[in-house]
Amino acid sequence: MSEEQKSPIARFVEWIDSRFGFSDTILRPGPKYTFTPTYWLGGLAFLVFMLQGVTGAIILLFYIPSTDAAYELTSKMISSVPFGALLQTVHLYGGYAMIILALIHFLRCYFEGVYKKPRELMWMVGMLMGLCTLFMGFTGYILPWSVISGCAAHISLGILDYLPPQIGGPLKTFIVGIGTDEEILRRFCAYHVVILPAAVFLLFLIKLHMFEVHGPAEPVTPKHHLPDDAFERRPWFPDVLVYLLMQGFVFIAVLLLVSALFPLVLPPKFSMEAAASVHPEPEWYFMWMYTLLRINIFSGTYGTLAVICTVGLIGLIIFFLPFVDRSEARHPLERPTATTLGLIGIAEFIVLIVWGYLTPGENLPTEQAVLVLGLPALIIALICKYYFNSILVERGIRTPKKFAFEFLSAVARRRYLSVVAFSLLVSMTSCTAAGAVSDAACGNMLSAAMGTVFTGLLFFLAFALMYLTDRTANVPMKRKFGPLEMGGE
């Protein structure tokens, strides 16, 4: 195409490229299949990180990390600095957005098995970035020194007291020094403004390098389901960059819109009198932990320690997941256990957050916790077990066996009846589980043991009913990658 025939935009792009040399940079071209929003969640999170850097730098011009001045200066910035309220609100929601994006990115990588060979270290670096992001959110929450900030700082540091003194003491000194309010605020400001962002940036560079080496993970969808040109490579400049900019513009627009509609309202300044009149609550992304700690069985030193150890252990397992899950399968349907556990994890996370907001400051009975947390886990486990079983049978990987609970077929043949019976069985299972836990807590071990056996029996009845309902229906389910499609290849 001659120079005259090119559009002004094409000529402008070429001019920029010739001056900056984007086409010759080390950033690799992107396959066309990556031009979907889910492939760039990490990039989008980093874009928000940059936005946080810009808004945070401006906010820092009007801020002093001192218990006397922090609240007044933040308040003054919101009320009398041009665009001060906008910057503060966008910075707040930007932090939330970064955590949400990191969370969705984590879930996508988990369910699509992106952490598998050769991206094991990318996963671990990403996990560290996620951890830094969470702590950036937390330290930022403390900085305005409102009543919520002060309480959050004291409660979170108080958790360290439950650790053995040989660990908790030095750790606390390392984090907050002598531990006065002034010192806490000054140190948290340093973590939020310098140390954690620097760590995230460094980890980002390491991850970007590994991304350039290994490239984006191939889609889990079978190749014949993708468009013909899905693997065609498009140059980083302008194609990938324009795609990222497009996504970034929309995302920042949404952020601005949310900020305008739900502006930041600063709680009162922190003081001991003010702290006595409020129920201090963590931000939503730590609410699950707070709710867990309020369950009666976890009250006291050992209970708190048990929660900390359990959460730490789960965190470690997730961190080393690439070395725990060594199978090569990546499609969620080919990894029933991982998919089921992931879905249960999501459900419990949401339930704990919602439950935490519905019961502010209350101690939560253990039996209630078994019901509230057990019911979603039970339902998801049953549905996944049924779904994956039927998929394996349908694909010919497993043959249907004679079932021990065939007598339930009479109910299973009637769909409506089986739905009602299934709901009843699931509810009864949760109730008996809660009863068993309650008996165990009261020391009534015989009753607890009987309750456990009865719970197991009800669980199997519920599963058997679901299994038989599928077998007696005689209607093949329509699935994306069913046996007919696979056999037709």
């Binding site: 559009s7 935009i9 009320s79 009398s80 600095v81 041009p82 665009f83 001060g84 309220a85 906008l86 966008v90 194609d239 324009v242 795609y243 900019l245 497009m246 996504q247 513009f249 929309v250 920042i252 627009a253 949404v254 601005l256 819109l257 900020s259 305008a260 509609l261 502006p263």
Partner: protein, 88 residues
């Protein structure tokens, strides 16, 4: 190359973007920051729409018209918010 009708659509969008940009810089940065934020959101969405058109210049815009229409509806809703908050 982008079809002429798309070029025309993009040009109209850019003009709207310019008008909104001029409108929002006249707002009070302390008292009217919310309309400013919504106006800026509209400007960014228009920029994303124009980028979308040029990013998919080689694609026949059949299904994309639907996406364009949805974006326009979103734009109109944003305009609504913009004027409601400004009026309030």
């Amino acid at each position: 190359m982008l079809p002429d009708r798309m070029v025309l659509a993009c040009e109209i969008l850019v003009v709207i973007q310019l008008i909104i940009s001029i409108l929002i810089v006249t707002l009070d940065p302390i008292l009217q920051w919310q309309p400013f934020a919504i106006g800026l959101a509209v400007v960014l969405i228009i920029a994303a729409m124009v980028l979308y058109a040029y990013h998919n210049a080689s694609v026949e815009f059949d299904e994309e018209w639907l996406a364009g229409a949805v974006s326009l509806i979103a734009l109109i809703i944003l305009f609504g918010f913009f004027y409601i908050i400004k009026g309030g």
